[in-house]
């Protein structure tokens, strides 16, 4: 049986002494389930809790606990994050739990590339890439944002003070990684924050 691989096949880098304090790591194959429906529904909240162990995030927020989480994508859409192997069963369980309620749950684990960003200069790097306010205090832990880097759609969220995830469609994986790596090169610190 073929093993799942991520689009960027484990690329990783970390800032050196002259570069920015940022680590870039291919997160590898990650479980991702798109869940659309009424986000105020108690049944949906229970299904999310069951699948990823967190409550339904508020507008432009991401709730994470123990490597699983839920990200707010739109007024009627969440992206659930969980281990790759758990996604098919979780998708089926959500379908069963929300049977009879208008919804859509789909395992889209292979649709995107996930890159893990660590370090205190992540806002510095992302602010060079996307038209989003990342000044201190503007994007606290638990924030999530869909936006674009040039022509490609991306979404990123802040799981902890120095821990972020960014996703883009799978075929843009190398482009996204190269762009982030170039933005984090030595001498690349803008220093406005």
């Amino acid at each position: 049986m073929s093993e799942p691989v991520s689009a960027i096949q484990g690329r990783a880098a970390s800032g050196n002494a002259k570069g920015l304090a940022i680590g870039l790591t291919d997160a590898g194959p990650q479980g991702m389930v798109t869940l659309r429906g009424d986000l105020s529904s108690p049944a949906l909240a229970a299904a999310v809790q069951e699948a990823v162990g967190v409550s339904v995030p508020g507008t432009r927020e991401a709730n994470f606990a123990g490597g699983r989480g839920a990200v707010w994508m739109s007024p009627d859409e969440l992206l659930l994050r969980l281990p790759y192997g758990d996604a098919p069963a979780a998708t089926a369980a959500i379908g069963k739990a929300l049977d009879g309620e208008h919804h859509l749950a789909l395992d889209v684990s292979d649709a995107r590339t996930v890159i893990r960003l660590t370090g205190e200069d992540v806002p510095e790097v992302l602010a060079k890439c996307a038209p989003v306010d990342l000044a201190p205090g503007a994007f606290p832990v638990g924030s999530a944002r869909r936006t674009h880097m040039g022509q490609i759609a991306v979404a990123f969220w802040r799981i902890a003070e120095t821990e972020w995830e960014i996703v883009a469609l799978r075929s843009y994986g190398h482009h996204l990684y190269d762009w982030l790596a170039a933005s984090a090169k030595p001498g690349g610190k803008v220093g406005v924050f």
Partner: protein, 106 residues
């Protein structure tokens, strides 16, 4: 560059995050309408110099459609509101009147 605030997700984003959808509040004429009405629906637009109501989509964001009122001369955005209405909200009309007393109205 316009800065638009999406009424669905609250993001005040650069114009580059949004996709324009043309004039808002068009009355649709479909099967059974006269040729004249259908032509008007398809091709006739106000194209005003001044206050304009437009459709926009938060394409690189929450993906939802909304409406925006802006001035085509100064690019000032008077406000945004959800797309599920047939005319602009009363308070937005008031805001525009206060800023553009010469405006002929919606």
């Amino acid at each position: 560059m316009l800065l638009l605030t999406c009424p669905h997700c609250g993001v005040s984003g650069d114009e580059t995050e949004f996709a324009p959808g043309g004039e808002a509040h068009l009355k649709r004429f479909g099967p059974g309408s006269s040729d004249g009405e259908f032509e008007t629906y398809l091709f006739y637009r106000r194209n005003p110099k001044g206050v304009h109501f437009e459709r926009w989509r938060h394409a690189f964001g929450c993906g939802k459609w909304f409406h925006a009122a802006r001035c085509t001369v100064t690019m000032e955005v008077f406000g945004t509101y959800p797309a599920d209405v047939t005319e602009p909200p009363a308070e937005l009309v008031e805001t525009i009147r206060a800023k553009r007393p010469e405006w002929e109205g919606f």
